[in-house]
Amino acid sequence: MKQKLLTTCLAILAIGTAAHAGTTVIQNKGSDTLVNVAQSWAEAYRAKNGSVVVAISGGGSGTGLAALINGTVDIANSSRTISRKEVEEATRKGIKPKEHIVGFDALAVFVHKNNPLEKVALTDLAEVYGEDGAIESWKQLGVDVPGCKNQTMVLVSRQNNSGTYAYFREAVLGERRDYKLGTHDMHGSKDVVDLVEKTPCAVGYSGLAYATDRVKMLCIAKKGEESCVRPGVETALDGSYPIARPLFMYTNGEPVGATKAYLDWILSDEGQCILSRRGYAPIRHVTCK
């Protein structure tokens, strides 16, 4: 409520200043996964086209879509598709969400640097994270992790309304399965990587863009006996990496005017190169300087 009020005030303020300076303001809000790249886009676009200001804020996919439904933003960023409930609510308020895929994100699975594990199958991962899953110890995956007491796995996850959480559940656990109770639910992708870095027993997941060289990324196979694929921009782009998700921007109906120009620019080679420099996969092959 308070947040909505604040956003509205800021929007009015921004429009006020914009009208004064003769510029257009595009309100852009949503996914924390996308917020860094959205910021880079906004800055580059401002430098190129001084009369358009893109105001970026994060808060999560759900927040962005809620703002679009409430009519307070022009573009909502989301790392998941809009839910049926949200579409219903939008229709009730006369908003027609239109989906645009602006890039892809490979979801990497991280373990501690000293963990000897190299690859993991999605079916095993489902037993690690899924409710009533059988795998609770690193021994069951055939490794002995140095520095890890009892070889008990420490599961690092995300808070339950993050787009990353919802995508991982859908892609790894399946339609009708929930996470185990007792996962450590971090409040951001960076926190997941930080905790895995400091905890020998840990396993965690987040977008590839948050990977650092202080944690180890696992090679992912669909099933145990299949060969595995390393997460990366290339493998996300050619579809061989099994847990890559599209990143979306939603507008109300077909975009027009400044919003359309901005979206077209994001999908152009220039916009896509900015995205790929941030560690995400572009929607098609682009050659960047």
Binding site: M1, Q3, K4, G59, G60, S61, G62, T63, A66, E86, E89, C148, K149, N150, T152, V154, Q159, N160, N161, S162, Y165, A166, R169, E170, E175, R176, D178, Y179, L181, G182, T183, H184, D185, M186, H187, L195, K198, T199, P200, C201, A202
Partner: protein, 310 residues
């Protein structure tokens, strides 16, 4: 300027509306508003959280599930469940451990400051204790995350250092300063004549403290503990960062847990306004409000009890 002596304005025309009159009235109104604002805010906040949470209580709320199930899965696609048992156990275990740390610590500190030192040392110590209370909770959380976490892993050889022990110790340290201040006030409220009488009977300083001052200040000390519990119960940021934020019914101090407050803080920002999940979070808010209200009320009654006796 006229030299003729005029009677004071107030006598001649008591209600003359000059600047002074307006200032007077303004101050009067400001003081009144300040005085009743506490009541207005408490009632207003309660009405607000009740209104937001009521839709859940009258809708999908299932008493047994809410209080007796550990399954807090509000965003499940096929079977959302709203059980706060594990969250409650998390808050209770962390608060319990915090009190084990804070009660001896703060009462010893209060005895030392109030009874065993005097003059400059006493003033410096009091300022330092108050300074400790001013450290922001996010800083405590950061200490838990980056210093105590690896320390616990190394010392106790456990899988993860974000657990009941970590957050309990931090909350204990956070609650201790306020408890020390209140306990010290309670010692000061014990009349000097009690001490003089005991000393006249040949009691040592320790005997005076142990046998006379502490029993006489009993209710004040109890109030200090209760307010400390209230502080620990409502703390959010430090617990969110240091507890591991993991849904568990803890069986040892090395289990990660999740607190009621931390759950609201982590989830409310990204929840669609008016959804079941949003309302369930406000229902947790109602539960928290009622608990802290009860604790503070008890503490207040205990303090009043002491005053009346004097």
């Amino acid at each position: 300027m006229s030299r003729r002596h005029a009677p004071p304005r107030a006598e001649r025309k008591p209600d003359r509306r000059d600047l002074g009159w307006y200032v007077d009235k303004a101050v009067e109104v400001a003081v009144f508003v300040g005085g009743v604002s506490a009541i207005v805010f408490v009632v207003g906040i309660f009405v607000f959280i009740t209104r937001e949470g009521l839709g859940f209580v009258t809708g999908p709320f299932d008493f047994r599930q809410f209080f007796l199930s550990p399954r807090w899965r509000p965003t499940s696609e096929w079977n959302p469940t709203y059980g706060i048992l594990a969250l409650f156990a998390g808050t209770a275990s962390v608060t319990g451990l915090a009190m084990l740390v804070a009660v001896p610590f703060s009462i010893c500190a209060a005895v030392f400051i109030g009874e065993l030192t005097a003059g400059r040392t006493r003033e410096v110590l009091k300022v330092l204790v108050e300074f400790l209370a001013a450290i922001p909770s996010v800083v405590w959380g950061f200490i838990g995350l980056s210093i105590i976490n690896p320390l616990i892993i190394n010392v106790f050889d456990v899988a993860v250092g974000l657990n009941v022990l970590n957050s309990g110790v931090i909350l204990g340290l956070m609650a201790a300063p306020i408890m020390t201040s209140i306990a010290e006030d309670a010692f000061r409220a014990v009349p000097e004549t009690y001490r003089e009488a005991a000393e006249a009977m040949g009691a040592t300083r320790w005997q005076v403290t142990y046998k006379v001052v502490i029993p006489a200040a009993k209710n004040g000390l109890l109030a200090a503990v209760l307010l400390g519990i209230g502080r620990a119960f409502g703390e959010t940021m430090a617990v969110l960062m240091a507890s591991g934020h993991s849904i568990n019914l803890p069986t040892s101090v090395f289990d990660s847990v999740r607190a009621l407050t931390a759950t609201i803080a982590a989830e409310l920002g990204e929840t669609a306004v008016g959804s079941d999940h949003y309302r369930a979070l406000f229902t947790i808010g109602i539960v928290l409000f009622l608990i802290t209200f009860a604790i503070n009320l008890t503490a207040d009654l205990v303090i009043r009890g002491t005053r009346r006796k004097e």
